[in-house]
Structures are given as structure tokens and as C-alpha cells.
Symmetry: C3
Subunit: 350 residues, 3 copies
């Protein structure tokens, strides 16, 4: 079941997309109209076995078509097809990518008449500028890029090729976005960094005249904010994925292929090397470095450099296994206090 | 005092709205122009006693009209009216609901000429579509619903009856919103879930082709984000209230009449049963269930299933009373270390 | 290096702006085209020494112009200028303020033809209303104020003079913004407070009919949300600076010159006195007071009043030095458990 959307794949289309090594059985349904987990699927649905722990559910599923791994031993029920593929989750991904195109077809190239485009903006003829977008002077929009609606692209900002900027995205002046970047609704790129000097009892603003650079193949979640630097740039490296409601401070430099979960905050001038993973709601202090491949548990507070490959947890952060051990001991504190009291009592008697 | 807005209720209008069981005294002011707490109210203001701890302040208030509970013993000062009602806070709510209509009157039905409405969108003739909204093809807007301004409703999305979508709200393609739903500015419904597979050193996107379903009587706070599911749906149950800047991950299912305070994050595929309360900044891991009526304290980190009715606190979460006890013992650690040292010293001497 | 933007200061323009007490050496570059830190600067760049710990880098920098403090002992390399100033960071700030004007010149006054301005809105003739803004009836926009694009100003809202409201800002009905206020993209002022009464198994809404008042010289970061009060007002005092993704609940009153870092949440009816500093991701419960000048460490959870001048840390918050001490002792818990076991063992033998 796939919500209200209408999909309709023939079995031929499905086998064309997932290229199974082997097919067993024949679906009684000519058209597949939904995708569902094994235990929720019904006739006309496609399902899949990606996690071995659900292996037993394949025999019970009512799905018409099931993607199964090559080593799967069972056989389909009457009216059911099994498609044997190397990685069912990758095969499913290909189907969903096709579905995505069906659900959200890119409108034809061109600038919607309601958009406000300043003279001197350079818009590739293959780009699509949706309704009520604003593009300021000197901005550049690359080939095949799609601005959905109500997007703002500031003065001299550069958006690369094949990007998708969804409703309400803001890319402020002078910021640069690479190619194949997907920005979800409400993303703000290029708000001012939070910088002040305390002079005579007031916080005097330090102008933030740098920029933000987003490299290729980055994806950024809804309402996430990335501040422009004091000077030079704030940067997000190639292939890095950022979830919703994340705050990236000024002059932060994030490496390639990092994963940054929802509601993380990274303070100014901190560096993340490549392949860093930050769990949800993590806070990172400014002016430090988190080494390559470090894994930081959810809600952790990072106040110091983290070496490459480290796993950290807690506030303030400790190595993950140490934090786990201390959490267990902490629960034994009432007992420890009693044991010490018992020793003191014996001691006072003896 | 009520800020810059101008209100003007006659005493008759007020008694008509709150239906007091009994009235004592006569206000010297014919018109009530403000609402204020007992200690801040002046002549021309209405005040109320909803919390017994402020009982003594009724005798000192300068308010012209005071809503008091039926069992209140005092009498009004000269030029003052007491209105005796069953629940002063409910009575006040009725007055404020009237005020709200006066402050934010719904514009007349119709589509503002600056809105961009695609061919094939179905807009009820009693709905109001404000300036610079975008409504894509196949979207449906129900009876009496009000899109304030600059709202985006994506392809084939459905908005029910009597909803209020405020400035800048985004409801992405295929998502469904029930009736009497209020969405505050900047809400994003239907951004992609945060799902990737790690293949050959890169995070390959798992397309998110499901939807989001918002049931009747839900209210969602400013800049909160709700991700669409991988397939099937992310859902918020009837009557649930969500505060500002909350993140709801893909495939999360939230029950009926839950309260989710500001800046909470709920990771993918987690279920909240009915009547769950999450305090501010709580983080919930994915793929778990929080049982009916559970109460989770602010900033708590939930990493495991929570049984119905449980009260949890801390990171990682423990039962609330246990966490409180451990917090007290933790403060006694310096003393405990000293006590153990003293025992060791005696022990080494003896 | 300053990202893609093109700047070009002559040395004369620079000395005119920073007014050095003394100049040493002559830059070989007639035009300064970038600003960079000492170790990253090259020919044509300006750099600066604001933190003494980088003193040794001045001798090695390739910058053409360096701002140094009056007591700096070194001399410039050939082709290099040193400008001796009282506070290099303040001098740099003046340069950057000039740059900011160059980067983001305010468009000429007037209302963009694509903006939707209701009859009865009062817009100062020196204000600039950018493309696709919505201004409702009765709203007031002050002299020199700039609404960048796609901004929403609700019914009877008041925006003072010389403000800058960036793309997508929402100021809801009846709210008031002072002068010289800068609101970053996606800020929401005046969403409803989160208030309900539990009646017969449902959360009944308490209408929020108060307003929000933002005083002069406040700056508010991207996608931050400030709720309107139940009645009376939510208020942010003069000169206070608020970072991105912060949540300010209804009836909160924030004093003057506070600093509120990213992702902080402040629950309803809490008061911050002047000069309070809240670190990132701090959570503050409702109905309390944080005293003047208090400093709250990142991720802290504040559940009680905080006295003026206090430094607090942890969840629940303790005095900062106590929390630090307890964090150290906590790491010694495994050792303490062993010491107690050793004592018990000896005790059982003796």
C-alpha cells in the first residue's frame, strides 16, 4: 500500500528495471499498484526480503511479486512471482527511483511567467524555474536544474546542473551550489554567521561577508540552515547528506560523504573530515576537528577534537564503550552508597 | 494589556460569551479593552482566577471585570464586576476564541489573482486561497479552508475542510491533510525521508515515494518538518498537537491526542501510541514503540521501547523517579569518594 | 580568499576605513582582492592579527596588507604593508561592513510590481519592498526598511525603520518589530503559543491572541520561531542577538543584550534578564527567571530559577564548576567500585 498515489507497473516493466537472475511463479495480477512490507502487502502489491530476520514472512505474504535474494530457498504460492536478485533493497531502490520520476515529473524547461527574474541572471535553457521564484541579478542556474516554486536565489549565487531546489528554498547572495544537489523545502543557505564583538555593553555585529559552498551530490533536509562565513567560506563536501533542521555555523568545513542526522548543531570554524557520522541532536563546539570516519551517538555533546575512527557518546562525550559502562555503574550508585555505609558501620563498631 | 491590538467588548457581550452563573458588582467601565493577569490588569481590563495560588491577588486587582470560580468567597470592589463561572480558564478561552476571529478574520472565499493555480486543481468555492500561493495539478482544497499566503500545495496533495495553512507552509506532492488542521508558518509536510545505502564508498539515495497523512484536528507548529515515508506513509493521528521546530522522520506513526513539545526529534519507523507526551528537545530512536500515555521528560533520549503509562527521563532514559534519585546521589559523589578514602586509610592503619 | 565574490580595495581606501596610527612598508599589490587568515593569505589579500597566539604567523604570511596591533614588534616583508591599529578585529569589522554594503546593496526604494500590498498598508516612501512580498491591511513599514523577497507582513503588524527582513520571513498579524532589526531567512514571528486544555480526552486549543514585540537592534537567525502570547506579549529586548533554529515560547520575556545560540528552546512565560548568555541547544523550562548576566553552557537543561551572574551546566543544571568536578569523578566510578569491593573483601577476611 502506497498512500493515495496511483502507480501501475506491469510485471514486464518490473523485470526490466530490476533485472532478476531468475523468476519463479507467475503473478495472478497483471498490474502492480503498490509496494508494501511482507506482512502488510496484499494482492497487486510488490514486496521484498532485505533483512534475513523476516525470512519466515515470505511464506505468509499475500504480495503478488516478491524480490528475494539469490540464496532464498522458498517457492512462490500460486498466483505469486518471486524475482531472485542480488540485493533486494537495491532492486527496490531502482523501482522507487522510477516511481519518483512518475510522482514528481520535472516540468518542461522554461521560466514560469509568475517568477521574478532580474536582468542579468543566467538561466540555462534546459532549466525549469517554477512559479513565484525570485532570481536576483548575476545569479546562474545550471542545465536541467529545477527550482520547484517560491525559491529565492540571491545576487551572484551559482546553482549547478541537475539540481532540485524545492518549495521555499533560499540560496542567498554569492553562495555556490554544485551539481546534482537536492535541497528540501525551507533550506536556508547563506544566512549570516553568528558573530559579534562586545563593545561598551553592546554586541556589535561582525559583518559576515564570506559565502557557502555546497559541493556535488549533496542532499540537505527541510528547514536546515547553513551560515555564510565571516570571510572565506563555509563548505559541505561532495556526497555528504544532511537531514532536517540541522544548523551549520559559519566557517564550518564538512568533508565528503558524511552523514549528519536531524537537529544536529555544529558551531563555527569546526572541521569534519570525510565519512563522519553524527547522530540526531548532536552538538559540536566550534574550532575543533572531528577525524575521518568518527561516529558520534545521538544527543552527544562534543567539546574537543575527536580522533579519526573514534566512536563517542554522552555529554561531555566519552568513548562509546566507556560511556556505556558508566551508564551501568551509575544505576548501581544507590547500592554503592549502601555498601559504603555498611562498611562504615562495621568500622565504627569494630 | 493586550499589545497593540484594539479590542472592545461590552459587559453584555462578555456575559453572553461566558454565561456566568452569577454576577456581582458593576464595572465602572462600559467597554473592556484588554485582558491581563490579576496583578497587571488596570481599569478597562478583564482578568481571571484560574490557579488558586493567586486567590489573594483578586482582592488587590484593578481589573474592571474578573472571572472567578463558583466557590470564590470575595466580593468585588466598587466599580468592579465579578463573573462567577465553573472554569474561569475555559470561560477565558471562549472570550479569546472570539478575539481570535476579530484579529484574524478569514478573508472572503476565492482565489487571489496573484496565486498560481495549475489546471486540474480542485478548489472548493468556499475556500480562500491567499496571495502568491502555488497549487499544483491534481491538488484538492476543501470547504472553508484558508491558505493565508505564499503556501505551496504539491501535485495531487489533499487538504480537507476548515483548515488554516499559514504563510509559507509547504504540503508536498501526494500528502493528505484532514479537516480542521492548523499548520503554522514554515511547516514542511512531505520532505524526503533520510534514507541511503552505503555502496562503494558513497551514500546512494533510497527514493522516498510514500506520503504523509495528517488526520483531523491536528495542529503543527512553525517550521516543523515531517518526512514522507520510503513507501506507505508517515502519519499523525487525530487531535495530536505538535509544537515548533519538531522533526518527524519517515514512516513514523503517531497516535491520537499526543502532545509533542518543541524541538523534539523522532527517528524513522517509530510508533507513538495514543496520548503520549514528549517534553521539549526529546530525541527518540527509530524502530521502537512508545506505549499509550507515556510521559517523557524534556531533553530525554529514548533508545528502547517504552511501556504504556511509563514516565521516563534522562539520556539514556530511565524511569523518572530512578533518574531523580540518581541525580541526587550524583551530587554526593565527592563525599562518597572521601568516605571511601577514609575507610581505606583506617584500613591501612589497622 | 573570499569565495567567488569580487572585491577591490585600494590601499588608500583601506587606510581611509581603518585609520591606522602608523603604516609600515608598501604593498606591491595596488588592489586588495581578498581577506584571509595569516596562514592562508596570498599576494593581493589582506590579513590581520587579532589573537596573540598567532603572532608568529605574521612573519610568515604572504598577505599584501596586515592589520597589526599598536604594540606589534615585527616589520613587513618587502612588498608588504603593516597597518598598526588599536584593535585589528574592530578595524577588520569596518572593512567587512563596507564589503557587506558592496555585496548586498539595498535596492532603490519602492514596491516591486510583483508584491501584493493590501489597501490600507502604510509603507514609508524610503522603504524597499522586494519581489513577491505580501503586506496585509493595516501593516506599517518604516523608513529605509528593506523586505528582500517573499516576505509576509500580517494584518496590523508594525516594522520600524532601517530593518532588513530577508527572503521568506514571516511577521504575523499585530506583531511589532523595532528599528535596525535584521531577520534572517525563514524567521517566523507570531506563530501561536502551544497552549491547550485537556477536556474530555481531547486537547482543546487555548486561543493565543497576544502578540510579539521585538525591540530595536535585535538580530534573529534563520528559521528561528517566536510564538505570540496567550494575551499580552512575548518580547525580545533591545540589542539581543538570537541564532538560527531557536524556539521562543509564548509569553517569554527576554531582556536586553542577551546572546542566544543556535537551537535553544525557551518554554512559555520564562523571563531572561539582561545580558544572559545561552549556549547552543540549551533547553529552559517555562515559568522561571534567569538572572542578569547568567551564563548557561551548551546543551544544558534549566529546570529552576538561575540567580544573576551564575554559570550553569548539565542536565539538570548545576553550577558549572560542580558539574565539571562531577564529570571527572564519574569517570572514576569503575575504580571506586573496585576500591569498595577491595574494602569489603578485606573486611570479610578480617
Amino acid at each position: 500500500m502506497l498512500g493515495p498515489m496511483q502507480i501501475a507497473f506491469t510485471l514486464e516493466e518490473i523485470t526490466g528495471l530490476v533485472q532478476p537472475r531468475r523468476v519463479a511463479g507467475t503473478s495472478a495480477e497483471a498490474t502492480i499498484r503498490g509496494i508494501a512490507s511482507l506482512n502488510k502487502a496484499g494482492p497487486g502489491d510488490l514486496s521484498f526480503l532485505s533483512n534475513k530476520k523476516y525470512r519466515a514472512e515470505v511464506g505468509k505474504t499475500r504480495a503478488s511479486v516478491v524480490l528475494v535474494p539469490l540464496d532464498f530457498a522458498g517457492s512462490p504460492a500460486p498466483g505469486q512471482s518471486f524475482l531472485f536478485v542480488e540485493q533486494p533493497s537495491v532492486a527496490l531502490g531502482r523501482l522507487c527511483a522510477r516511481l519518483e520520476q512518475a510522482l514528481w515529473p520535472k516540468p518542461a524547461p522554461g521560466v514560469h511567467p509568475s517568477a521574478s527574474v532580474a536582468a542579468g541572471a543566467a538561466i540555462d535553457p534546459t532549466a525549469t524555474i517554477g512559479p513565484l521564484c525570485v532570481i536576483e541579478a548575476g545569479a546562474t542556474i545550471g542545465a536541467g536544474t529545477h527550482l520547484q516554486a517560491q525559491v529565492f536565489v540571491g545576487r551572484a549565487a551559482v546553482i549547478g546542473a541537475a539540481c532540485w531546489l524545492m518549495a521555499g528554498v533560499v540560496v542567498a547572495a554569492e553562495c555556490t551550489v554544485g551539481s546534482r544537489v537536492r535541497l528540501h523545502p525551507g533550506v536556508v543557505i547563506g544566512s549570516d554567521g553568528f558573530g559579534y564583538e562586545f563593545v561598551a555593553g553592546r554586541h556589535e555585529k561582525i559583518p559576515q561577508v564570506g559565502t557557502v559552498i555546497i559541493d556535488d551530490d549533496v542532499e540537505i533536509g527541510a528547514n536546515t540552515t547553513l551560515d555564510r562565513s565571516r570571510f572565506s567560506f563555509t563548505r559541505v563536501g561532495e556526497g555528504t547528506k544532511i537531514d532536517n533542521l540541522v544548523q551549520i555555523g559559519h566557517n564550518v568545513v564538512i568533508g565528503r560523504h558524511c552523514m549528519i542526522c536531524a537537529q544536529v548543531g555544529i558551531a563555527g570554524s569546526t572541521t569534519l573530515e570525510d565519512y563522519v557520522v553524527l547522530g540526531g541532536q548532536v552538538g559540536v563546539i566550534g574550532h575543533i576537528t572531528i577525524g575521518q570516519g568518527a561516529m558520534i551517538g545521538a544527543q552527544t555533546g562534543i567539546g574537543h577534537d575527536v580522533p579519526p575512527g573514534a566512536a563517542m557518546w554522552g555529554t561531555p562525550a566519552l568513548p562509546h564503550t566507556q560511556e556505556q559502562r558508566l551508564f551501568i555503574l551509575r544505576q548501581k550508585l544507590p547500592e554503592l552508597f549502601k555498601r559504603v555505609s555498611a562498611l562504615e558501620e562495621k568500622d565504627s563498631i569494630s
